[in-house]
């Protein structure tokens, strides 16, 4: 009991330490931002947008991409052959800017995001491949900043910020938004500087030659973004992360607890797959430890989410010696500190995005902390269960704005 308590404390403390990376000093915070671009446009981009049953949101996304201030980019829309509704929208928008937009049909029998991206890779002509999801709201200035980031840092990969915005939708949306906030605002920067990074699923830019050299994405992996990051890290690619509130790609949270659970299960299972693939074993020792820690993180988190409350219940109800009972409360310290920092983060999030955060949102944050931890635990257990029973299919998350019935049908 004592050792479990100490392990949990250490885990929670390290997680907290890393989560807070960006805010360590004013200097580290300043370093996480995009440098001011110089106005040159030297890099050419191919922006890949896989879309699946997303006819409702695709047009808007592409229109926004077309507003980009950068001069050298093409957009490649990737549509499944069995998805005529989305294809129709794709062709319609492509016709408005034929010199910029290419529509590629994915005829793979089993459809998922990495396969769709691989389908488009042969058509890429830009020096840099960028990935966006069909529901993303991309800022017009983003490419210019990324261009500059590639040139000024000599990076192979630039990861931009992604932010869920609809914190007001429900208590779990709020927690989900804050997870993204802390991940992209802070934690990823630490990973980039330490040389091991699970990349994000979109707003990620990779040099085309590097991407082709790594044989593109892994079509069988449920977390192709994480996997790509791990493989590129293992090959010593230089990854730069930059976060600018005004430039982040805006997304929305899954529309129900069920789809959030599915999405998280998929990610966790993907992490497990990446862990089992073992590419990360090629890293030097320190990064290897970081990799092992990061990839098993969701499961440790799941374990502590359940174990800590049990420990506390035991301490309060069972007749333990007072010293041991006190010890079971030690892991709560970093967890509670995490909630305090999340409160500060929620306020900061509101200021950065010009959103009004109200008292009820702070209440959701505090009261929802334990249920959300429970949800993550269930997702982690589910992921382990699915991986060991060999269920490796892609549980797609539906997006509000899409026709829900179709999306569910597509998510076999």
């Amino acid at each position: 009991m004592i050792s479990i308590s100490l392990v949990l404390s250490a885990f929670a403390a390290v997680t907290l330490w890393w989560t807070m990376h960006a805010w360590r000093t004013p200097e580290t915070l300043a370093a996480t931002r995009f440098a001011e671009p110089d106005g040159d446009h030297r890099v050419t981009f191919s922006l890949l947008v896989p879309a699946r049953h997303e006819q409702a949101v695709l047009e808007h996304t592409v229109e926004r991409l077309l507003r980009s201030t950068h001069q050298g980019y093409e957009i490649i829309l990737i549509i499944g052959h069995d998805d005529p509704e989305t294809a129709e929208v794709a062709h319609r928008v492509a016709a408005t800017a034929p010199e910029r937009i290419l529509v590629v049909t994915d005829e793979n029998a089993v459809k998922n995001k990495p396969r769709a991206l691989n389908t488009a890779l042969p058509y890429v002509r830009g020096e840099v491949v960028g990935v966006f999801d069909a529901e993303d709201q991309v800022h017009p200035d983003l490419l210019e900043h990324v261009d500059h980031a590639f040139r000024s840092t000599g990076a192979d990969v630039v990861q931009g910020g992604v932010q869920l915005i609809n914190y007001h939708s429900s208590w779990y949306s709020l927690h989900n938004c804050l997870e993204y906030f802390f991940w992209f605002r802070s934690r990823l920067h630490l990973h980039a500087s330490k040389g091991f990074i699970p990349l994000g699923g979109n707003t990620v830019f990779v040099r085309t030659d590097v991407l082709r050299g790594a044989n593109g994405w892994d079509g069988t992996c449920l977390a192709e973004d994480c996997d790509l990051g791990v493989r590129l890290s293992s090959r010593g690619a230089k990854v730069v992360v930059a976060y600018e509130a005004s430039l982040v790609t805006r997304e929305e949270t899954p529309d129900s607890l069920g789809s959030l659970l599915k999405q998280r299960t998929r990610w966790n299972q993907g992490f497990l797959q990446v862990l089992r693939k073992g590419e990360w074993r090629r890293l030097p020792l320190r990064q290897r430890l970081l990799a092992r820690y990061t990839l098993t993180g969701p499961f440790l988190q799941a374990f502590s989410g359940v174990a800590i409350p049990i420990g506390i219940a035991l301490a309060l109800l069972a007749d333990l010696p007072v010293g041991i009972a006190l010890l079971t409360f030690v892991p709560v310290v970093p967890m509670a500190a995490n909630i305090v920092f999340q409160t500060v983060g929620l306020r900061d999030f509101g200021i950065q995005y010009g959103l009004r955060v109200r008292w009820r949102h702070f209440a959701w944050l505090i009261l929802g902390a334990f249920p959300y931890a429970l949800l993550l635990s269930v997702a982690a257990l589910r992921a382990v269960w699915r991986e060991y029973t060999g269920r490796r299919d892609w549980e797609l998350t539906a997006h509000v704005g899409a026709h829900l019935g179709n999306a569910e049908a597509g998510a076999a």
Binding site: R24, P26, E36, H41, E74, V104, V332, V333
Partner: protein, 541 residues
Amino acid sequence: MTTTSESQQTTAIIPKARGGVVPASRPRLPLPDPDAGQRLARVRRRRLTRREALLAVGLTALVLLVLGANISGYPMINDDEGTYLAQAWAVAHGHGLAHYTYWYDHPPLAWIQLAGLSWLPGLAGSDGATVATVGRIAMLPVVGAVLLLVYVISRRLGMAVWSSATALVVFGLSPLTVVMYRGVYLDTFAVVWMLAALALALSPHRNLWAFTGAGAATAIAVLSKETIVVALPAVVLALWQHTARSSTRPWAVGGYTSGLVLVGVFYPLYATLRGELFPGAGHVSLIGAWQFQLGDRAGSGSIFHAGSIANGLVRSWLDHDWFVLLGGLAATAVCLFVRRLRPPAVAGAILVLVACRPSGHLPVMYVVQLLPFFAIALAGVLDLLVKLTPAGRSRPAVLVALALLAATLVAPRWYSGNKLAVTANYHSGYVAAARFLREEVPDRAHTRVVADDVLWLECVDAGYQPDRVIWFYKLDLDPGVAATLPNGWRDVDYIVSTPALRGDSKTLPAVNTLLTNSTLVARFGEDVGRIEIRRITKEAP
């Protein structure tokens, strides 16, 4: 297999990338941190160089030498020192937080720390001293940390090397410090942690974890001696000022709060887990103890009323060193108006105001908390004075004038005060009494002795059973102790009458009975300071 949707295999063109021709017409985002370079320079300036560290450590060693010389001879040991040492003994020997029922009189962290340091005196040997005075040696590392922190804080407040060194020396060599910091007091632990909190809040890098650590250190300070909580606003102010115009201020506040609350909460949690949070029949409680400390405890009067206990206390402090107290008070008033020197001044001012309240309890060691803040304020004013003098010929003149003033006004008093401290032996009575109890009393394991807190530890060390040596006031105040004496006072074999015991005996009937029904066996010292070992005359009616 893949096909494109149309015959066209690629987009028509990626328009040729342009270089250097786009005018920067769009509004630009603000640069990340325009004054980062400047700030880094400041960080470098505030970081101690090796030479500076050598200076601070050297001065600290010098002060510790003065403090350590004759530490067991002067001043007369205070009963409270014995109490804390005995409680540390209880912690170190696995008897819980006290060898009597712990009743939340003070939070326990200080004597837990003392227990952690108690292996130290063994290294120094204890010839000719009592166990209790040897406990003072365990305090020396803590005082060393206080001295270094005084220096570090002064530097972090933007003071020069010479003035920071002055703060260290003024604090360390003031006869009042020498007298008070030799004692085994909880306040010393509280001070070291509160100063650590202040130093961390002034972290040159403005590191989030330093701020979190400042919160934790504040909590540990308060859990070492609760009264230091009044200095908390000084740390908060330092943090607030230090993070002004910084992008991370809300996070700093969050970190500080987390550290403070999450460490501090363990004390009430301890009480809760033992079922002793709220007052109730048949058990002690944390809140009950607070009610006693805040409301019911007998006051020591106002420091402004001649003849009151508090007034006498302040007079004795002034006797030891008026300069650091009056000078510090004046300097504190000045520093309140100087932004960068305000945090220590706020701590000093609040501590003074609390001492000035018309009634309430003013303990002997209260001044321990005040001294470092006064010393920093004093040196801060000197620093200010020199900095305000135009550079050139007048600046050395000011320094010379200050040195002359110090030499004529302060040095003689300090010399005589510290000379007394390193030569006087106020303690021979206790040493002799301890030796008597150790060597002259037969069958110690079965002898029951009532003594004060200092000699308690002495007796236990000499082979008496811990439960057969009784703190005199527990006879009247702890029903659990009275229950171990089925025949009442006749179960006691000896009573050791010390100044502390006689001082309180008027309000303690059981102690009075013992004094009346006992005969003198041995006497050490004269008059009010005498120590008497008295055997109980059990056959008395």
